[in-house]
Amino acid sequence: MAEAIQKKLQAELEKYQQVQKDVSKSMSARQKLEAQLTENNIVKEELHLLDSQNTVYKLIGPVLVKQDLDEAKATVGKRLEYINGEIQRYETLLKDMERKSEQHREVLASLQQEYQRAQGIPVAKA
């Protein structure tokens, strides 16, 4: 009895740990996205500070590719949208995962209690 519960417990624990890993991953990804968002925001603002005379380059690999200012602004804007979308996606993902982790935690707690009970009963019997 206790062993079965222990197995269950361990399986659940592994699942929970997996969920926790996912959570931490998505959290770090989200933080990166956040950083990119701020960076792109700054780029966007600074691009707005430039006028049409300035030439804009995009570093692609080792090469600076000349870009049109408006084009650069548009791409930066799109990039921002994408980042925002990503952030929202991660937001929902995180909520889901937190919910899952919560469920796992509850299951774990119940399993733990069962396990302790299962352990305690034989002890009591012994």
């Binding site: 960076e39 792109n40 570093l59 650069a72």
Partner: protein
């Protein structure tokens, strides 16, 4: 306790970890702040350079050549800069634009620094709070112990609550006792205006002594009864203070006898009614085992009972009923007189006492009827006199008395044994109406009288004194002028003596 202790240990650990986290965050914030400050400085220096850069067309500089070497070079195009905007975006711009860009970035840096400062402050406060919390928890460690105690106390309080109920019940008992005592005191005060209220509870020895005295008194009374009623009256009046006391006791005995008679005649429940005030006490005594508290209530009940009594009385002495009616009429007249006269006379108090007990009323009536000096026996005798057989009545009364005494003696012994207080109350009640013992003999009559005079009877309890006042003085004065003055003194002396004896 173990769980609490664990909780105590866990809590510090949690606090420790929380503090660590807070410290970490604060440290990170500090590091970031320093970093951003450095960035800010760099930007400031950059801004300076940008401002001064376009001043010259070219600069002779040492160009870094790899990580270890520099090589001399020349900086040209001083107003032509390529700025990394971020995210691999570059922009070619003039020094002036670069300066604006730097300014813009400095804003960001400043914002960042402000945010960091805020975060740091926040976490510092949090760290402080956690420290306080830790202190509190540590201090609370003791408090927690106290809390545990409190929990125990709560568990205890449950018990205490139950205990509290008990206390309530106990207090009730105490209160009951107190109330009883108070009531007794009140009764004594009310009943014994003479002032016997001081000692209600008599020791067994005192009780026995009283019983002995009462027995003596009974014997004396028997002798007196054997003698003519007039003689007895004279004896009573002329008797010394000790005799008066004896008489008073005898009166008490007589009342007791009356009670016993009532018991004999009617059911025990009716006894109280028949006896009047004195009876209620006996009833109370009898009921003391059941409820001592009822004593207070018993008085009113007694009054009510009086109305019922007459039937018994009538049943007891069918011949006397007609006489009783006449007595009642007389009593009513007397009561009216008393009411009219008011409380002016000192005798009134005595009369009040007399009036208080139905037996007293009977005495009064008897006196009036007789017009002679046959006050006490007169009640019974008055009936008998009306019947025109005084001696017979007296004899019958004496026989009745003896029987009653036997009953009475039993009742009294029980009463005394059970409650010294009750006996005191009885004595007190009796004492006010010393002449009652004849009445006591004819308690059945007294009961009838009560019925006839519901108003006076009810009045006497509330304001017993006023109605009785006029009747007593008149009768007493007419019958025995010497008796009236003597009686109050005697009574007082008797009570005092009784108190002293009791003491």
């Amino acid at each position: 306790m173990a769980g609490n202790m664990n909780a105590n240990y866990d809590l510090p650990q949690g606090v420790e970890r929380l503090k660590e986290e807070h410290r970490k965050v604060v440290k990170d914030c500090k590091g970031q702040i320093t970093h951003w400050k450095k960035v800010e400085k760099d930007y400031e220096s950059l801004q300076e350079r940008l401002v001064t850069l376009p001043d010259k067309l070219s600069y002779d500089i040492m160009v870094p050549f790899g990580p270890l070497a520099f090589m001399p070079g020349k900086l040209v195009h001083t107003n032509e800069l390529t700025v990394l905007l971020g995210d691999n975006w570059f922009a070619k711009c003039s020094a002036k634009q670069a300066e604006t860009l730097v300014e813009h970035r400095k804003k960001h840096v400043k914002n960042k620094l402000d945010d960091l400062h805020k975060v740091m402050k926040n976490f510092q406060s949090r760290a402080g709070f956690t420290e306080d919390l830790e202190k509190m928890t540590n201090d609370n460690g003791d408090f927690v112990d106290i809390k545990e105690k409190v929990e125990e106390e709560e568990a205890g309080t449950k018990g205490k609550h139950r205990v509290a109920h008990k206390p309530k019940s106990k207090p009730k008992e105490e209160y009951v006792v107190q109330l009883e005592e108070e009531r007794e005191e009140e009764e004594e005060e009310a009943e014994g205006e003479d002032g016997e209220s001081s000692k209600r509870v008599l020791s067994e020895e005192e009780l026995w002594a009283r019983l002995d005295e009462l027995e003596r008194m009974e014997d004396e009374q028997d002798e007196r009864d054997r003698m003519d009623s007039t003689d007895t009256n004279g004896e009573d009046t002329s008797s010394s203070s000790s005799e008066e006391e004896k008489e008073a006791e005898a009166g008490r005995e007589a009342q007791v006898n009356g009670q016993s008679q009532c018991e004999n005649q009617a059911s025990v429940s009716h006894i109280v009614q028949v006896n009047g005030i004195a009876k209620p006490q006996h009833d109370e005594e009898a009921k003391e085992d059941d409820d001592e508290e009822e004593e207070g209530s018993s008085l009113p009940t007694i009054y009510f009972c009086h109305t019922v009594e007459p039937k018994k009385v009538r049943i007891n002495t069918g011949k006397n009923t007609t006489l009783k009616f006449s007595d009642r009429k007389e009593q009513k007249q007397q009561g009216k007189r008393k009411k009219k006269n008011g409380k002016t006379n000192s005798h009134s108090i005595q009369e009040h006492h007399k009036i208080t007990s139905p037996s007293d009323i009977y005495r009064v009536f008897v006196d009036v009827l007789n017009g002679e000096l046959v006050p006490r026996k007169s009640i019974l005798k008055s009936r008998s006199r009306e019947n025109s057989v005084c001696s017979d009545t007296s004899e019958s009364s004496t026989a009745d008395f003896e029987e009653r005494r036997t009953f009475f003696g039993r009742a009294q012994s029980h009463d005394d044994a059970t409650h010294s207080d009750a006996s005191d109350g009885i004595t007190e009640e009796d004492s006010p109406s010393i002449s009652l013992y004849p009445n006591g003999r004819f308690e059945a009559f007294s009961g009838t009288v009560v019925e006839k005079d519901p108003l006076p009877s009810s009045i006497p309890h509330l304001t017993i004194a006023p109605p009785a006042l006029p009747t007593i003085p008149e009768r007493k004065q007419e019958e025995v002028s010497s008796e009236v003055p003597q009686e109050p003194i005697k009574r007082v002396s008797k009570f005092k003596a009784a108190r002293l004896q009791q003491k």
